[in-house]
Symmetry: C2
Subunit: 379 residues, 2 copies
């Protein structure tokens, strides 16, 4: 079900004992089953994974970073090569973030005022400007299916006055993004800031909803607060977000955070963690994280997970993967990333099935890692 | 057509104007069309390429290095995990070299005598010994379809006395390898040394043939001599190798060397060059090498080669590949390696077809690079 522009969102089922929803997001480049995990191809490439391999992991949508693409190769190159989908060889849905998060975490900020931000590129130190209009224009040029409003994302903990100022700016910038947005075939999502202050979050949400967007993102979490604080914000905020629009929790990808997000009613997630951890020889399993360099895997002929259907688990032993990491072979990061990406897709798929059956909480018996400390404990 | 052990070699066709032969090599893990290029998975892994992707490039046999596997993960690990094919996830033919070349090029040699070589591992400096018996035992344990005699490979140029001593040792060691060889399901190839001294080469060949092997390799080339010297050795030596056994030119993979080898009657080749060059952003094309970081590719929407059917060329523009290398993305080396591997397989496949038609020389009009200076000139 989609509108004249090619977009749509339907809630197909809701859970019995939680606020979780099972939905379907339609975009001009295809349909995404929700709750969905979106892998991140920062500069328009998954690190160590081809689009064909990414498709095999079950990913239906990919995220790319406007900040990184704006610095390199620059939007005009992507435009000249036929837009982001064609340039990066991924003809399924793409979401681009606005650059707000990266500007406030990676860049050396030169000047920030009501109009926008001047910062120095982390690549070559050149002076660059992003504003609501510029970030929207770049995203219009890149051509993703879903684009994000340019927001101010403060690190946590944050002084109340600073937080309030970031919220004011985020609301003002959201309006300007909506006005600047020039493509009918791209959905525009607003972002709710407000740190761990629930009243601030609700006030921000109310004003962002008043501007009116195709979907609503929860930004500024997973930036320094505790897991419990994050869960509290999600539980307190989600009921105040429109039920008929997709809800997106930005930058979250650890199993227990995904579970708590889904439970609270979030529909979309993104994170670099599956490929980043994979590159460092750490893989997800249903019972916790596994460090591949560990001596105990030296003669272990078992796959990473018996239950996993990924290329890595179908082909290789833990002993071989350990060997690759000990020898510093590129294939190690590639195979570990494939497993981690598939792991999160299997987890999301199983959560979708369990919401359909009205029993999401069952996921904890199948994937005990969702109750653990972010899957970081070695097994 | 194979013997009771599962091996066989047939010459199916010969060229009109050269000594080239079109053949078929049968092994317990499958058939290899010759002339064949064997990609190298040094430690039991292609750098940046999965076995599934390697299969897609058309590779029918893969080479692994005994020296590297002996140091890490060590043969007993491979044995415990069910042998090399299972360990590395490649169920097609494998050839292992004997470690001779690596010992004399990579390792810090401690002592060399008639019995063998003591050397220090380039990884951790530990003292290790290789001899004909040990190298053969390790290869028996690894379990490749084809294993190689342990030889002494002198760098070129080389003093006549030193060359003669290396030849004597290579012949004596070849006999001991044959005696030590303990597996019926592995073919054993002898290696001919002798540098660029044709009389020495022929004398060595005669004595190695007298020992009797399943195939004959030309070692000690592509180690410092000129292209012309290499061609001269091949033309002068090949007629003295048995016509009914496969001939293998070790360590050669540049397009013009492959062509000259095929023309002289060589059936098998191996080299790390397609993945090594790929990792460094240099790709083969029919007209010469291309450097992907070059500014001129910035807005170039064409694939690396219009005629290429590899995953990279079917999916990506030169501009995107340049972007990946400029951004230092892993996907760049992966995609460039896939193209280079497929390029050499397409070149070999086309040479096989042209031998069938009796007109190998035509290859120069389709792949002018075979007449160039090793494909290193940028286009």
């Amino acid at each position: 079900m989609s509108d004249a522009r090619g977009f749509g969102f339907e809630v197909l089922a809701t859970d019995g004992g939680s606020s979780a929803r099972r939905g379907q997001l339609t975009t001009p480049h295809g349909v995404v089953q929700t709750p969905a995990f979106m892998p991140v191809g920062t500069v328009g490439a998954m690190k160590g994974v081809t689009p064909a391999q990414l498709t095999d992991t079950g990913a239906e949508i990919m995220l790319c970073n406007t900040y990184h693409l704006a610095l390199r190769p620059k939007p005009e190159v992507v435009v000249a090569l036929g837009g982001l989908h064609k340039f990066i060889g991924w003809d399924r849905p793409i979401l681009t973030d606005s650059g707000g998060f990266q500007v406030f975490s990676l860049a050396k900020i030169n000047k920030i005022d009501e109009d926008g931000v001047d910062f120095r590129s982390h690549i070559d130190g050149s002076l660059i400007r992003l504003s609501p209009e510029i970030a929207t224009d770049i995203q219009n040029k890149l051509g993703a299916d879903i684009i994000m409003a340019f927001d101010q994302c403060p690190p946590l903990p944050c002084e109340p006055a600073e937080l309030a100022a970031a919220v004011e700016r985020t609301v003002a910038w959201a309006k300007r993004c909506k006005e600047a947005h020039g493509r009918e075939d791209q959905a525009l999502f607003g972002i709710v800031q407000g740190g761990t202050d629930l009243a601030m979050r609700r006030m921000c949400a109310e004003r962002i909803i008043e501007v009116g967007f195709d979907g609503y993102a929860v930004g500024g979490l997973s930036v320094g607060e505790s897991h419990e604080e994050m869960v509290e914000v999600l539980d307190g905020l989600c009921p105040h977000l429109p039920a008929d629009r997709p809800r997106y929790l930005m930058g979250v990808g650890m199993p227990r955070d995904l579970y708590e997000g889904v439970r609270a009613g979030i529909d979309m997630f993104d994170c670099v963690i599956p490929t980043r951890n994979g590159r460092h020889g750490q893989v997800f399993t249903a019972t916790g994280a596994m460090k591949l360099r560990n001596e105990k895997h030296r003669l272990d002929g078992r796959p990473l997970e018996e239950a996993c259907d990924c290329y890595t688990c179908r082909t290789y032993s833990r002993a071989y993967l350990r060997h690759l990491f000990m020898a510093g072979e590129m294939l190690g990061p590639m195979l570990a990333s494939i497993h981690n990406l598939r792991f999160l897709q299997r987890l999301m798929g199983r959560m979708r099935d369990l919401i359909n059956a009205g029993e999401l909480a069952t996921i904890a018996s199948e994937f005990p890692v969702v109750l653990g400390t972010n899957g970081n404990n070695d097994t």
